[in-house]
Each structure stands twice: as C-alpha cells, then as structure tokens.
C-alpha cells in the first residue's frame, strides 16, 4: 500500500480550512479585551425525546439558581446515527454548542478528541471518576468528558405484574425465556416487543448478549479487534445473538406492529402490561417516568438469557458531557462551571430526579437515591454476584455502522441469522479499515 501522509494532510488541512471558512460567520470568539464574564453558552441535549429535553431544561434551571447571570440556551438533536452525523459535522465545522452530551466509548473515540475537544483532566471533579469511566472518555493524551447520568444495563426489561400474574420466574436459559414467552402469548399478552420505528432498538439481542460472549470467551473482544479469524459474528458464541434475533419472529412472539412501533410507545405498552418483555437498555426507564410514572416499579430487568444458562448482565458506561475546542475565553469558563455544576450535589439531585438512575454512577459525587426504580435492584443483583461484563463498544473500537439495519432484516425474516452475521462481519471490516486498525488491511 502506498502512503503519502504529509501531502494528504496538507490537502486535508486546506479542505478543513475551506469548511472552517464557511463556518467562520458562526464563530463569536471574544476577540476584543479579556474573557467576558458570565458569557452566555449553548447546550446540546442528548436527544430530542421527552426525557432528554426535560433533563436538559431542569439542569439549566438548576444551574441558573447558582449562576443566575449565565444564560444557557438548550438545543436538541436526533438520536442514533443521525445524531452521530450532526455531532461530527458540528465539531469539524467549528459550530458545536459550548457543552454537549454524547456517548462514551467507541463513539467518543471517533470524535478525534485531541483536536476537537477541550481537555478536562484539571477539573476539580476529575478525581472522583471511576477508572472504568475515565477509560471511556480519554485518549492517550488526556481526559475529555464528564460523566452524565448513571451506568445502565442491556438485557430484557419485563413487566413484573404480568410475570407474577402468570406465575412465571425470571429465565436464565433461552429455552426458559421462550417457554415463558409462549405462556404469555397464550394469556393474550404480547410476549416480546419489537420497535423498528426506531431501528436502533433492533440491535439489543446482539449487543446485550455480549457479556455472555465475554463470559464464555474472555479473550473474544481482543481477538475481534485484532481481526482473528474465529472471533467473528458468523461463529459461536457471538452468532447466538443473531440466532436469538431471528427466532422470536419465527415463533410468532413479536407484537403485530413491530415494524412501525417506536421506542417510546413500546415502553408505554410494557409499562401498562399490554406487553411483557422488551429487549432494551435500561437507560430508557426515564421515558417511562415521563409517560407512565405510576408504573415505573412494575418494570424489572434480567440479563439476556443464554443457551446454557449462567447469563451475564451487559453494562454500558455513563454518557459524557464535553466541551469543544472552539469554546474559549469567557464561554469556556461558563461551560466549565456548567460541568462542575453537573457533578455537584445539586446537579446530582437533578440527574436523579429528571432522569431516573438506571444503575450506579460513575462519579463518587453522585449516589443512587433510595427510591431508585425497581430494575436498578435487579441490576445490582447481577453486580453483587459478579455476573456482569462491559458492552463491546467500551472494550473495542470496532462497531459496524449498519448493525441496526442488519438486525431489522434478520428479525423481520428478510435474511437468516447466518446471512445477517456474515453481512455484519463485512460491515465491521469496512469500519476497522477506515480506522486504520492493525491487522485489517
């Protein structure tokens, strides 16, 4: 292969300079005099769903009680890949909000933090972070993110009332899960929710199975990143996630409107007991608090069942709050104050109230309140038993962009589990090559 890095860099710089030129009109650096005191800032919320918007607004209200003179304007953005695109575009054109929420882990790594984000390692709260979280928002050069929200788990969210009513117990093996689902179906309740109106939700059978993959083969993630031939989705143990995805539709266990239902509406069905089980990340419990506050504690959690039992809970680290490099001077001071507030006792209270904690926090400044939703206790049980594992996106930079569409295809029966897994391996290869990872060329 033929490398011409310096020359191509120069061209890239020219290209970016041209882009930046377009963006210049949007920049308002305080060029005259010293940094403005109490400079107003903008804040990009973590999505445009009701829970994200309410959290953002509550944080700003709380922040203004402490710093009444700093004006904060809230912006929203789409979730999923559209959101990724928006974040990257704004960062590379210098039009990013002064504070923004975004994922930690592999999606954070794709932001090129060293050139686009303000380092935050010297902030007072940096010492309070857990080691796991620090690793997910740092590069070799420094720390770039503050934790926002709690850690959360992926697996199956289920309606405890339905389970109690039908005398079911929490499944550990896939066979038990299917037998439970068939009993639920017989009782006239939707056994398993699919919600492809938001395509990202289709990935959970695969993504939330990863702690089980790690439990069976602790070296899998490392081999996968290094492009070893057996650490592929077409092979077991990872193939199981795709097989599970295909099986639920084949057995007729999905809701009728799986192809168009949205995440928020699926949660309403789960909360009210019209549906019993939903492969999901528990972070969405905040939306149940918004739509069905009386039913939050009816919802429980169990880890993705496996063929042989001994199921493990897959853990997602907290998201991050970041400040872009383009925020400087007075705005930087204001933005740093905002992050410090986020991790202060008052900020933790707002995080606790506005979006229910779905698991423990990544900073020792915040604690999960006694009235946390019931499913947090279910998650804690896995943690106490040592049956957890981090999601793949926190231990490998490799994640193919088309997993949502591929799992939609598999789950709706357009392609088989094996075809889907093979397609995803190919998708992953493309991404790893783009990242210039060793072993993929």
């Amino acid at each position: 292969m033929f490398f011409r890095r310096t020359a191509s860099r120069a061209v890239a710089v020219l290209g970016v300079a041209a882009l930046a030129g377009i963006a210049l009109s949007g920049c308002t650096a305080s060029s005259g005099g010293g940094p403005a005191k109490n400079a107003p800032i903008t804040f990009l919320a973590g999505g445009n769903d009701p829970a994200s918007i309410k959290t953002a607004n509550d944080l700003v209200t709380g922040f203004n009680k402490v710093y009444p003179k700093i004006k904060v304007k809230v912006d929203t953005r789409p979730a999923g890949t559209d959101g990724d695109n928006l974040i990257k575009t704004r960062l590379s054109t210098g039009t990013m909000d002064d504070v923004f929420f975004y994922n930690s882990g592999s999606l954070f790594q794709a932001l090129h933090a060293d050139t686009t984000l303000q380092p935050l390692g010297n902030q007072p709260w940096a010492k309070t972070l857990t080691k796991d979280f620090k690793a997910t928002v740092s590069t070799s050069k420094g720390l770039y993110g503050a934790p926002f929200g709690s850690t959360f788990d992926g697996g199956v969210m289920y309606n405890k009332k339905v389970y109690a009513q039908l005398g079911l117990s929490v499944p550990d093996t896939w066979a038990q899960f299917i037998s439970n689902s068939q009993k639920i179906k017989a009782a006239g309740i939707t056994p398993i929710l699919g919600s492809f109106g938001d395509t990202w939700t289709a990935q959970l059978f695969v993504l939330a199975d990863f702690a089980n993959v790690s439990a069976q083969d602790p070296t899998w993630a490392g081999n996968y990143t290094a492009n070893k031939a057996d650490a592929k989705y077409v092979n077991q143990p990872a193939l199981a996630g795709f097989q599970d995805t295909a099986e639920v539709k084949k057995l007729g266990l999905l809701n009728k409107d799986y192809a168009s239902l949205t995440n928020v509406n699926a949660l309403k069905l789960l909360a009210t007991g019209k549906a019993a089980q939903y492969p999901m990340i528990t972070a969405v419990i905040g939306n149940v608090e918004q739509s069905n506050p009386d039913n939050v504690n009816d919802i429980g959690y169990f880890a993705m069942p496996t063929a042989n039992g001994n199921s493990h809970a897959t853990i997602w680290e907290a998201g991050g709050a970041y400040i872009p490099k383009t925020t400087t001077g007075g705005k930087l001071t204001s933005a740093e104050k905002f992050l410090t507030f986020l991790l202060s006792p008052a900020g933790c209270d707002i995080q606790n109230e506005a979006s229910l904690p779905a698991g423990p926090y990544a900073t020792s400044n915040c604690t999960v309140p006694a009235n946390a939703p019931a499913l947090v206790k279910d998650e804690q049980a896995y943690q106490d038993a040592g049956k957890t594992g981090l999601a793949l996106e926190f231990i490998s930079p490799v994640k193919g962009p088309n997993l949502s569409q591929i799992t939609v295809q598999v789950e709706s029966g357009i392609s088989t589990a094996a075809q889907g897994a093979a397609l995803y391996d190919q998708d992953v290869k493309k991404q790893a090559q783009q990242l210039n990872l060793p072993g993929w060329n």
Partner: protein
C-alpha cells in the same frame, strides 16, 4: 481566449448549415472591465472548482475530516464489493424508471383533461400543482403518518371496507413501491404543467381540421396531441429520470432505506456511509453516482432532443 481561435471554424460551420440567416460570430466583447468579474470568479473557484477537484482527490483517500491517507482506488473497489451497493443500484433504476414512466403517463392524461373545458379548471390545475410546492421532507413525514399500518388514516379507511391493510412502508416487498407512489403524487404536478404548455401550444386549426375530416377523439389524441407534445415528453422524461435516479430525501423521510436495506438507493447508501464517518468511501460513491447519472442522461437527452427536432 479560446473563442478567438475557434471563431473562423464556428463561422464556416454556421454558414454551411445555412438554414437560418448566417450570423458571423465576432470576438466576444465584454461590456465590463475585467476586475468586475473578480467576485464571481472568486465565488466560483472557492465554492465550485476547489470542492469539485478536492472531492476527486478525497475519493482516493481514507478520510475522516481531520487527516487523510492516500489509498489509490481502494474506495472504489470497496464500494463495488459492498453487497448493499448492487442492491442500491437495482432499486435506484427501478425507482427512477417507474416514477418517470408514471409521471409521463399520468401527467399527460391529467394535462389532456385540464386543457379541455371542464368545470372548475383553474381550481383543479392549482390542486394538481399544489404538492410540488410542499417540502419533500414534509410530504414524507405526512405520508409516514397517513400510511402507518396500524394508526394511519389510509388503512383505517381500507379497514372500513374490509380491504387488506398492508404495511405500506414496513412490508419489505411494498416499501419501495409505496415511496415511488408518493413521489409520483408529489411530482406529477410539474409533468402536468409541462404537458399543458405543450398541448396549449398546438395550433387549434389542427384539431378543427381533424374534426372536419371526421376523426374520432381517440384518433386526434393519438395522431395530433401525442406527436406534437414530443418536446414536452422529452423534457418530462429527462427531468423526472434525473430526479428519480438521485432521489434521496423522500426515501430518507419515509423509510430511511428500510426495512433492513429493502428501499436503499445509491444516494441513501452514500449518505449512510457519510453518517458512519467513511468520508473518503462516500465521496467515491458520489463520484460513481455522478458518472452513472451522466452516462445515462447524456445519450438519452441527445436521443430525445434529436427526435424532437426531427418532428
């Protein structure tokens, strides 16, 4: 300038065709001083020339907006190995040709009706044209809710009559066809307008003479209206085919290329690669799309225009 050298050739060429009065082509004379052009040239170079050449270069690199690595034709090889691409190509052609054909046929029939003396003609013309004025994304979102398989008004009405209620945008075998139908609804107004202009331009003596000779309405349509609206047909085909081949916004607003990849077209495959941060790869995709559309449209356009001239 190049014009100076070409002037004698151009002169002899236009003289030899000789059908029109030969106008000798003089050296182009500018009415403005040269510095007058600087703003326009600067804008052109900054916003068109540099990005175009930069995109040809970046299509040969692995590029993440911050740094790029030259990889030769690697992106093009990768793009053609992509299983979604073939899929996308097939869908693009199906979509482009289906919407174009439907717009020609429906647009022509509507134009015939709306140029004949019907009740409330002005109002009907406005109604046909109205969807053209709405934003495509707006149309997409509107139809997504109208055609929702369980809560949409269309399926509710079908249910009242006991008809099947398909998942318009969610059934893999229907999704692309449903989007094409919405595209036709939205775009047929332009086709109708062009056809109406073509029909109105036909001298009314032809119709009168034909009727005197006892030609049936169908015969008039077949032997007068259709042949004499040939230039309009060519315009409609070209416009709607280009629109269809590079269509993206309506597809993205309704299905996002889904379910799975069943309504993915080239443009949405490229867009998803941009989303994923594969900037070099997707720029290569745009270069390919550009070449494909040009390769289809240039010969088609010259063919259609030649026929129009012959008539």
């Amino acid at each position: 300038m190049a014009t100076t050298n070409l002037a004698p050739t151009a002169l002899s060429a236009s003289a030899s065709t000789g059908s029109k009065a030969p106008v000798p082509r003089k050296k182009m004379k500018s009415y403005y001083p040269s510095w007058f052009f600087i703003p326009a040239v600067a804008l052109y170079v900054i916003f068109f020339a540099i990005p175009t050449f930069a995109s040809f270069y970046f299509s040969l690199t692995r590029w993440d907006l911050f740094s790029s690595t030259y990889i030769g034709f690697g992106n093009f090889v990768e793009f053609f190995q992509d299983p979604q691409l073939l899929n996308g190509f097939i869908h693009t052609f199906e979509y482009g040709f289906a919407t174009s054909a439907a717009k020609v046929i429906i647009g022509f029939l509507l134009a015939v009706i709306l140029t004949s003396p019907v009740v409330a003609r002005g109002y009907l013309r406005a109604v046909i044209f109205f969807p053209v004025l709405i934003s495509t994304i707006g149309v997409g979102i509107m139809f997504k809710s109208l055609l929702d398989p369980f809560h949409g008004i269309v399926n509710a009405v079908l249910g009242v009559f006991g008809l099947p209620q398909p998942g318009w945008f969610t059934d893999p075998s229907l999704a692309l066809a449903s989007i094409a139908a919405v595209d036709v609804w939205k775009g047929v107004g332009i086709a109708t307008l062009i056809f109406m202009a073509g029909i109105v331009a036909i001298p009314s003596e032809y119709f009168e003479a034909a009727r005197m000779d006892g030609a049936s309405s169908f015969k008039i349509l077949r032997t007068i209206t259709i042949p004499l609206t040939q230039p309009a047909t060519a315009t409609v085909i070209i416009l709607s085919l280009i629109g269809g081949l590079r269509s993206f916004d309506l597809i993205w607003a309704t299905t996002g290329g889904g379910p799975g990849f069943t309504s993915d077209v080239i443009a949405s495959v490229i867009y998803k690669e941009y989303q994923a941060g594969f900037f070099g790869l997707s720029t290569a995709g745009n270069v390919i799309l550009f070449i494909v559309v040009t390769a289809i449209m240039v010969p088609l356009s010259s063919f259609l225009n030649r026929r129009a001239v012959e008539l």
